[in-house]
Amino acid sequence: MALPVMLAFGLGLWPGPVPAGDPTRAVAERQAEMDRMAEAMRVLGRFLKGEAVTAAEIAAGAGAIHRIAAGLAAGLFPEGTAIGVGNSAARPEIWQEWDLFGQYATDLRAAAVRLAAVAATGDVRALREPVVAVVRACGACHELFRKKP
């Protein structure tokens, strides 16, 4: 299931949500993946706070974010994994507004691609704007679809 979904996503298509085989396990796997996303975002945060971060570290982070963003449709958010399952913080609106959720996922993926491209140039001074774009892409989706905090 995951491969055709990822292929569709790669072509710019946004497939429908897949059903969860084991919802509790799916929530745990999603959160583990989101923890890996947070690891990458922490590098971006250190950069934004003016700490010493190399363009190579940012490029690695952008790669991780891109990989995880591409997986958002491919099983990370199967149906039946909203708030109430495990310690899910995913609002049910994700599946009610699936196309909008897909738009946010596409935006994040595009922002990560751009960040990786700028990071590959090694020009740290040019990184702030694409880093901020990635952070804002996360925040836009979390505002609507993730329960605080």
Partner: protein
């Protein structure tokens, strides 16, 4: 004595030619006064725009998710007491606040009373806005009055009894409303005082981050100590500088980044209503104001959280 002087001393009215200089002067002064007032209102509105952002008016008074018109109200605010629908605050004279006087507007924010004299519910955070000073309240009003009027009627709240009984509000206010404005603390720096004003008055941070009792009043002994999620609602973290359960281990740069774009030190990004607060309010503040917020929060007595713990 000239003809006007004689008239003022009880003499005959002056002839028209004698009045011409006065009429000419009036013809010049009246438009000049009107222009000055318009300029003053425009300046007030400009200052009011910043206060509007800092006070977070847009979020509650615009039903953004359903494509509602700006500031026309109607956004559902679900609480343990029922669902509130914030009103239209555009300058529409019938459905909005277009006919409110300065005194009406000050009374609403300072005392929680509508222009028709009926009490407001504290879902409108007048218990925080009461701490604003009159000048800021009127600047905010000038900004609202400069917005596009929208003829949209208000939707009645859907509240559980007895929380929907406005008649009880004066008693509630006696218990929980501490009428402002906020006093400056002369023992603290200007930055600290500004931070206090931003956190307690404009930003009304305590409305979400301070625990409430069963009547909905804020617990002053637990100010900003955070709240756990209840009834499916959102939790709010501890903002006091407790090192284990609060912001004690956050640097200034950590908090500035969170307020600017919602990114936490552990790489997580805020969600839900705090993401909205970051977008509409804290990201719109000046760097100096965000630093003032940090200075104030860092000075608070550390309290142990009852709610979620911010990341180290």
């Amino acid at each position: 004595m000239n003809p006007i002087g004689r008239f003022l001393s009880g003499g005959r009215p002056p002839a028209l030619p004698a009045l011409l200089p006065v009429l000419l002067l009036l013809a010049l002064l009246v438009p000049a006064a009107a222009a000055l007032r318009a300029q003053s209102q425009a300046e007030r509105a400009l200052r009011g725009q910043y206060l509007f952002d800092a006070a977070g008016c847009f979020g509650c008074h615009t039903d953004e998710v359903h494509g509602g018109q700006r500031l026309a109200g109607g956004r559902a605010l679900e609480t343990p007491f029922g669902t509130f629908y914030p009103p239209n605050i555009t300058p529409d004279p019938i459905y909005g606040i277009g006919n409110w006087s300065d005194a009406d507007f000050i009374r609403a924010l300072r005392h929680g009373v509508r222009a028709d004299g009926s009490p407001l519910f504290p879902a409108f955070p007048y218990t925080s806005y009461t701490l604003m000073d009159d000048g800021d309240i009127l600047d905010l009003k000038a900004y609202l009055m400069a917005q596009k009027p929208v003829a949209q009627p208000n939707r009645p709240h859907e509240l559980k009894d007895p929380f929907g009984w406005r008649v009880l509000m004066p008693a509630w206010n006696l218990m929980y409303l501490h009428v402002g404005p906020l006093d400056t603390n002369p023992r603290q720096s200007a930055q600290w005082n500004r931070g206090q004003y931003l956190v307690r008055a404009l930003g009304h941070c305590g409305e979400c981050h301070t625990p409430r009792d069963w009547l909905g009043g804020l617990d002053p002994h637990r100010a900003l100590a955070g709240i756990p999620a209840a009834d499916g609602g959102e939790a709010a973290p501890n903002l006091t500088p407790d090192p284990d359960t609060g912001l004690g281990r956050w640097s200034e740069a950590d908090l500035l980044l969170l307020l600017e774009m919602g990114l936490k030190p552990d790489g997580d990004v805020v969600g839900g209503s705090m993401a909205e607060v970051v977008r509409n309010t804290t990201s719109q503040l000046t760097l100096a104001d965000r630093k003032a917020i940090f200075a104030y929060l860092r000075s608070l007595p550390p309290l142990t959280a009852a709610g979620p713990t911010p990341p180290p």
